[in-house]
Symmetry: C2
Subunit: 323 residues, 2 copies
Amino acid sequence: MSASTDVKDMSRLLKLAKKFNCFYVSGFNSSECKPFIVEGYQVGLIRPDVMKQLIYFPEVFHITAGCVELNPAFRDYQERSVKIDEVLREFRCKDTFVTLKGWRDECFEVKTGFNTQSLLKMDRSATCLFGIQNYGISINGFVKHPEKGHCLWFQKRSSTKQTWPGKWDSMVSGGLSVGHGILETANKEAMEEASVPPILLQNLINVGCVSFYFESERGLFPNTEFVFDLELPVEFVPENADGEVESFEILPVSKCIEKMLADDFKTTSAPVVLDFLIRHGVLTAENEPGYLNIIELLHVPLQTIYGRYHNEVRENGIAINSA
Amino acid sequence: MSASTDVKDMSRLLKLAKKFNCFYVSGFNSSECKPFIVEGYQVGLIRPDVMKQLIYFPEVFHITAGCVELNPAFRDYQERSVKIDEVLREFRCKDTFVTLKGWRDECFEVKTGFNTQSLLKMDRSATCLFGIQNYGISINGFVKHPEKGHCLWFQKRSSTKQTWPGKWDSMVSGGLSVGHGILETANKEAMEEASVPPILLQNLINVGCVSFYFESERGLFPNTEFVFDLELPVEFVPENADGEVESFEILPVSKCIEKMLADDFKTTSAPVVLDFLIRHGVLTAENEPGYLNIIELLHVPLQTIYGRYHNEVRENGIAINSA
């Protein structure tokens, strides 16, 4: 043990935490990406590969040395949403970006912080092109088994899903779409994905959130998941109702670590499982050398990560989400 | 509601989270403080008021434009600890720093990360002069009351305590001293401070940690608390055994927010209570507008906050705590 430790000694779980935060730990400070500005606020980040395509739409995107700005002449939420949608549909027709093959016809809000007014909406498949903050819910369905102790349910995603097909995932999860609340979404997804009856959903507890910044070939994913714990009776077996799940499996917590580390586990769902194992005392500083670093990597400062720019460009008003 | 929100609209709990993170949110990026370097690693930060006194000990501290370095000629843990201790005792005799009035004869380790080898030890009253990372344990003693729901125990600190005398605090807490483990410290403090019997301590669960960076007139406090939940039977009443507690009080969770916001609550214990209220679903994004920001402010990246310097000064080896 030295005063500092090499990467080769890093725990497998800390490596995983850096993997789902790959953009936070290495990409974020590179100058390759430019802030995406709407109405004077940074709402995202744009990679060079996307920038190269946006230059063909100078009436929508003003690209300068320092940033990409949505045309400030657009008057309101409606106009901004329509103008971006037109560009995205053109990209989609031309097959410019792989992520748009997963067009959802379901929009996410674009805003400077979770509790601030939305500036526009955008199809959820496109938000990663602009590094827009994503919000979702995840549910840890667990059982306190008389012999096996705490056990956690997992779902295997359908092989026809547009993202992470066939990968293992939390029991239930879903994105927060325009017009839907957090608890409402959690209840809806639990019923659709796992047929949890309303009587059992009364046990649903929002136990915090995890925040991480992932990057893939599809784009940038600053992700905040509202985490729910749902204690289930031993005899309950989830059943899929919407065709998006291939199967379910239940595992004692001691086997969840290997599950999460396997190649067939959805990388961006590992934070929710890690958080569960930490909150329930399965992972501790005594059995996991990366404990403190992992906890910090489950809560990277996404609410303020774009805030620095606000403070530079705006002289009046302090953003609620500026640290 | 606007795209950004003024400070005046900020929730009281978010204000509190910024108060116990006052150095993180406003002081950390000021250039007033200099990194404190030991064996080539940054282990702390030094304020101008402390620097002014260290210049009288050039054989111990090498002060340059960019940093304060402990004399690299000191050979080992032992010599470094002794040399610093000599300086601190001189400061103490001369009444140079108010924090040293609370000399403890109890040492904290000085290291680059929780799991790295200690570089020296230092009396715990002095660590805030150097911005050394502090580690401690805190216990949320709670009861699932049949009528009142979840209730949380608080302790009132003795009026003779050197820090935060007479303030309300978590049921049990304590610093991690040289040679003592996390769970060991939690058990010891629970017995000493609240007379929790061993049979009840079997319920002690380490449910995570909170990290925050506080500053007071005494110094800089980068603080990581290992958080424990301890479910207690309704009939259990804590009783102090070491003279450090004036009294105990139990409150339903709905009253804990006002308790925490009152002037007679120890600012640096609020993170542990906030974390409890979040993990148990009392505070949610639906009833607390600052929810996401508060969660991020309960987990500021202390394990990597000094890491940037490591990477600049060292060419070989990647610190485990560099994000």
